[in-house]
Amino acid sequence: MRSLLSRFRYQIALFLAVLGPGFITAVVDNDSGGIYTYSAAGAKYGYLPLWTLLPITVVLIITQEMCSRMGAVTGKGLSDLIREEFGLRITFLMMTLLVLANFTNVVAEFAGIASSLELFHISRYISVPLSAVGVWFLVVKGNYRSVEKIFLFACVFYVTYIISGFLVKPDWKEAAIYSVKPVLMLDGGYIYMLIGMVGTTIAPWMQFYLQSAVVEKGVSAKEYAASRIEVVVGCIMTNVIAFFIVVACAGAIYSVAPRDIQDAKEAALGLKPFGEYAFLLFSAGLFNASIFAACILPLSTAYSVCEGLGFEAGVNKRIREAPAFYFLYTLLIVAGAGVILIPGFPLVKMILLSQVLNGVLLPFVLIFMVILINKADLMGEWVNPKWFNFTTWVTVAIMIGLTLALVGISVRGMP
């Protein structure tokens, strides 16, 4: 009995020991762009789009699990592996694309910070520079452990969406039905929304970030079983939050008058008639999500690029030891926050551009991932099992298709 108990305690300890990378990556998937997408879906189509969350969860789990497995088994980041197996030129090309795509994403996050704090009547000329400085110091002056703790704490803040979902008092019966009942309509706007919801599920940077974080955390192949649970739990949590965002907007906006909303700020304002708290929580959640992603994106970019091109990287290193790493990190934050402050900056175009760049990069990332994870000399006994490979390729094909569809729509949307 005692050994059983101690074994159980060991398992719990193991789970807590690996907790972090998978959970954080999945949760950051609900960044300002994700929140907007889900809000818009709920505001315009109510509970109808809820069924997509189930397949989205599956897709997210399949792709995240591969990265986390590669990280644990090889002990190397994704860009490391791409460099070793596909050479410098391809790596360089991918890293260039990644920097561009992530830069546009960083801009979107700072835009999220600006608009969420404007709901609290704080000018963006104060909020954005302060946030940028805060983000920079957090990572430069912290170490991996403390930063991860702060990130995990930020994950807890997503609870605000669940609470605001309840405060709106939505129609739970409808929500439950449409969560499992697929509804397809031959309506241009509806299909665009579906593509948007699934297409923004996986961003290239997530794969790079997750794998590096697993490596940095030192998760070994032996502990991987616990890590896998962490990834699955994280992905489910993420979509539970997405569910509440859709439901909140469906209850507050759609049930009053279905309409298009332009940004997440408008969604928050739509919640106002349902009480100050619903509104405040939704806005605070938006700020939390944006600043959280604004911390992770530049960091992950700097890591991936330096790993791939062989420059020294790491928050534990001094600026003099890893100049390229800190240069890139600083540049992304300063430039990302800077453009938000330019009056009349075409933000909508920038966000469309970020979707296009992500979409162009993602097929390569996913295909490389599946090739890498099938290499026996790399993965040993941890290669993809045959049946799983089939699922993976189908998922990858669907994701690439949807992402490219999104790219097509975005390109047409860009005048």
Partner: protein
């Protein structure tokens, strides 16, 4: 740039010409055979038709940048992979190697080689491993511009390279490691903390390779400097006998800490492989909770009977020379082994050799019980400005000591 230099990536895809100047294919890779010569390019692999061919170094007449490789003998053997060959393109390019003097892990962008004519033929030898921006630029431009243009363009960028004999390739496969003549003796000469940093940057397979090969004493020292969670996973990945050899070289306290991090089965396996004396000591320490004084203490102390003299103390120190580096306090115990006094080591220098140790003791004896909480222990260190704190069991017997460096690690982990 001197004309007798050649970069490996320039050699790649160079056309290869036979005796009459006909082109027979392109260079696909080149290989060293370290057992024969540590830096000479021994083979060039040529791809033309269906299979690759092997060109031995003595079959090459000349190598000219922009023109290609010209052979002096065209009886070429088909290429077979063998474990004696270190293929540069496959095993080195884009991979990680260890820079021994820079004490870090670097990624190979290119290799700088020299061409030397010995009267009959051009002999190519590896000179340096390129890791800097210059080699990145070179590789990105290759194919788009001619090699001579690229050389001109890269001129202003400062080179960043490591001499070939200061590099250490890491090979996880033990058989291949032997055949490739790879030893980690250069790593053994490093400071354990530097070695630990390097090990942390490598993948699990490479890590395992290093710890399996290097001397167990060095391995133990380096392992103590590695992050505790990684320590456990490294030991778990090794064969239990090898792991046990390393654990025996660690201090019992550190050994207990690592084994505590591991799954019960794996730590038991290692304990069984250990010699009995250190094994029991570690087992005893394992019984203590990690966040209590018992879990923080080590058993590296010197204690004497309370009636002993300075002379006795000196004799005891001579018998414990391995502890001297970190020793700053002596302890006195009674017949039952109960702690009675502590003596700062420095006081011995000023005392007469026949003086009784008791007279040199600190006025107040500060000690903690093995069950004392971690927070209280750190408080004690702060309050009394301690370097070493004795830990006693429930009968008051001296069980171990906690040293300031342990407190520093505890505080840093918070």
């Amino acid at each position: 740039m001197a004309d007798n230099l050649l970069f490996f990536t320039e050699l790649l895809s160079m056309p290869v010409h036979d005796v009459r100047g006909r082109r027979i294919g392109r260079a696909k890779d080149a290989a060293l055979v370290p057992l024969v010569h540590p830096s000479r390019i021994d083979r060039v692999l040529v791809g033309g038709g269906d299979a690759w061919l092997t060109v031995r170094y003595d079959q090459i007449r000349s190598i000219v940048l922009g023109k290609g490789i010209f052979l002096s003998d065209e009886r070429l053997m088909p290429y077979h992979d063998d474990e004696y060959m270190l293929r540069i393109g496959r095993d080195l390019l884009d991979q990680q190697i260890i820079d021994v003097t820079g004490r870090k892990v670097v990624r190979v962008n290119d290799l700088t080689m020299t061409i030397q004519n010995d009267g009959e033929r051009d002999i190519v030898a590896v000179l340096e491993v390129d890791i800097g921006v210059r080699s990145v630029v070179r590789r990105l431009l290759q194919g788009a511009l001619s090699p001579r243009w690229i050389r001109k363009l890269q001129e202003p960028i400062p080179p960043h390279s490591i001499a070939w004999d200061l590099c250490n390739v890491v090979e996880p496969d033990p058989l291949r490691r032997l055949r490739l003549n790879i030893s980690y003796s250069k790593l053994e000469a490093m400071h354990p903390a530097d070695l630990a940093d390097i090990v942390e940057e490598l993948g699990p397979a490479e890590r395992e390779a290093i710890f399996e090969t290097i001397d167990s004493e060095v391995a133990a020292e380096a392992l103590s400097e590695v992050d505790p969670r990684m320590q456990a996973s490294i030991l778990e990945s090794l064969e239990p006998e090898i792991a046990a050899d390393i654990v025996e070289e660690m201090s019992p306290h550190e050994a207990a800490d690592v084994l505590n991090e591991m799954e019960a089965e794996s730590s038991e396996e290692i304990l069984e492989e250990m010699d009995s004396a250190p094994g029991t000591e570690v087992r005893e320490l394992l019984d203590f909770e990690e966040d209590r004084a018992g879990g923080m203490m080590n058993t590296e102390f010197v204690s004497l009977h309370q009636n002993a003299s300075v002379m006795d103390a000196l004799a005891a120190l001579r018998g414990n020379e391995d502890l001297l580096e970190n020793l700053n306090t002596l302890f006195l115990v009674d017949e039952e082994g109960r702690l009675t006094a502590s003596i700062p080591l420095a006081r011995l220098f000023l005392a007469a050799s026949n003086a009784r140790l008791k007279e040199l003791a600190n006025e107040t004896l500060i000690q903690v019980n093995v069950d004392e909480k971690q927070d209280r222990v750190t408080e004690f260190f702060d309050k009394y400005n301690l370097l070493t704190l004795p830990v006693v069991d429930e009968d008051g017997k001296l069980a171990g000591v906690i040293t300031a460096d342990e407190i520093i690690s505890v505080l840093r982990q918070k």
